[in-house]
């Protein structure tokens, strides 16, 4: 079975600085997708960024980017120019390829942003 590990229960960052959240996963599949979801306090979980395993290029969405290391099974999220609104629980998630529907989540990382 696939597993997703987030080894950092909590992280802190100063406003305007950069922070990296770590995620590793275990799978024997070659076709899969990886995601970072954000869950703000008392608000709905939303998708931040997605990476297709077949793409070598790292995904980027504005201030959010990933470092996808397929051989190492590592998928970290970098947040640049951190803002107070980035404070949330961040979950790394895995999904199998074409015929998969289900997500496997990591335990989550709480990100605190200091002003």
């Amino acid at each position: 079975a696939q597993t997703v590990t987030q080894s950092q229960p909590e992280m802190s960052v100063q406003e305007a600085e950069t922070v990296t959240l770590s995620c590793t996963y275990d799978t024997s599949e070659s076709d899969y997708y990886l995601f970072w979801y954000k869950q703000p306090p008392s608000r709905q979980m939303i998708l931040v960024i997605r990476q297709e395993a077949y793409k070598q290029q790292n995904a980027t969405e504005n201030r959010f980017s990933v470092n996808f290391q397929k051989a190492a099974k590592s998928f970290s999220l970098k947040i640049s120019d951190s803002q107070l609104g980035d404070a949330a629980m961040y979950f790394c998630a895995y999904r199998e390829g074409e015929y998969g529907n289900k997500l496997v989540f990591g335990a989550g990382t709480i990100l605190r942003v200091k002003s």
Binding site: R50, K102, F105
Partner: protein, 114 residues
């Protein structure tokens, strides 16, 4: 944008009670999911439905059942609530196949079983 709503934000029930959690989505999504979220464990899939009346067990189905009689509505049922089912329950929906790479989540129901 897709809206996923859950019937209650907070619920308190007694041990042994039958509990219904309701989820409704408004975007004609084929897939609907029920997760429970616990500190240190992340989200774990309880049940998944890919069509009306169709369901598939997730990783932790014991003590739960589901019902999907209409495409937009997916219910989670705790037949006899127990204290170890105290948790945050999240519903999600998505399109089918590769069109459904993104799941849309509801606000969650925090259930306390006394």
């Amino acid at each position: 944008d897709v809206k996923v709503t859950q019937s209650s934000r907070y619920l308190v029930k007694r041990t042994g009670e039958k509990v219904f959690l309701e989820c409704v989505q408004d975007m004609d999504h084929e897939n609907m999911f029920w997760y429970r979220q616990d500190p240190g464990l992340g989200l774990r899939l309880i049940y998944f439905s890919y069509d009306v009346k169709m369901k598939e067990k997730g990783d932790i189905p014991e003590g739960y059942s589901v019902s999907r009689e209409k495409k937009e509505r997916f219910s989670l049922i705790l037949e006899s609530a127990s204290t170890n089912q105290t948790s945050m329950y999240l519903c999600a929906s998505s399109l089918g196949g590769l069109a459904g790479l993104r799941q849309f989540f509801g606000p969650g129901t925090r259930l306390t079983v006394l």
